[in-house]
Symmetry: C3
Amino acid sequence: MYEVYVAARFEAAHRLTGDFGSAARMHGHTYGLEVILRGQSLKDDGTLFDIGELKDAVDGLAASLHYRDLDEVPGLAEINTTAENVASFCWERLAPRLRDRGLGSLTVRIWENPQVYAAREDALD
Amino acid sequence: MYEVYVAARFEAAHRLTGDFGSAARMHGHTYGLEVILRGQSLKDDGTLFDIGELKDAVDGLAASLHYRDLDEVPGLAEINTTAENVASFCWERLAPRLRDRGLGSLTVRIWENPQVYAAREDALD
Amino acid sequence: MYEVYVAARFEAAHRLTGDFGSAARMHGHTYGLEVILRGQSLKDDGTLFDIGELKDAVDGLAASLHYRDLDEVPGLAEINTTAENVASFCWERLAPRLRDRGLGSLTVRIWENPQVYAAREDALD
């Protein structure tokens, strides 16, 4: 089994709704966005997936969230912007262009800081 | 599948018993403690598990090992304080409060330094 | 399930063959080499596998690639030196000495820089 991984960052504000203590106050993070693709075999050119193409997709997604209030982003404004939900949001944004490309699964990790992340991993088919 | 991750650190001394060369001498590490919870679905508040609660548990465990000789800690004093056994010790300390909470598995990684870790991963049920 | 992990680095040149934009030009990376062994149970001495022995093997492999043009290394000269292929090359170099040692799987990650890696994971049996 092979993996390729690409990382990006974005700086964004958010606040949680519910019993989350200080996280219910407006605050922000330098978010880390990590994306992993998995598949069983390499193509003839020795790649699982063109890392340059993946990097462009991940950088574009990060740019779309950079210097934003996540609670105002369509798709996140309706839900609690926990790291889990932000990871799931990013998963859904990336998955469509990755289907039917011979890949097995996609993982998206959202780091709120170097000590905390949440991730979503699911099959791409 | 979702994950949440929390990291902490502690500084401790230890020595290995057996044919481990210089690791059989009393020495120490700035240990890294990484904890990952996995589960299939999020709760209504958008969390797999409250990261704040997990962080409190992990920080408390790290504090209990900080500035200790691991070979004198009950539960470790009886066994070889390899990174694998320290990871397993931490796994057993954390697991009881995490059972019956809708989680699938728990991973604990113990870093002896930025180039070496050992981990234990097992189902929580 | 247990894991042990060791990391090393090497500095090497390479170029890709094919439609890879600037990566088709001769360039280089400070490569990160990460190796993970997995198995179901620990030995009586509290180890899955002697990390010192694993470190020696990984450091030796890294040294054999340090300050080299990967496209001239036997086993890589015949193929495209994508991160996936370099990971697979390293996997094949490490696996023989790790078989029949009670291990389940071996993962090798090759980082081209802190934002990009490719990995191969396969069973050791």
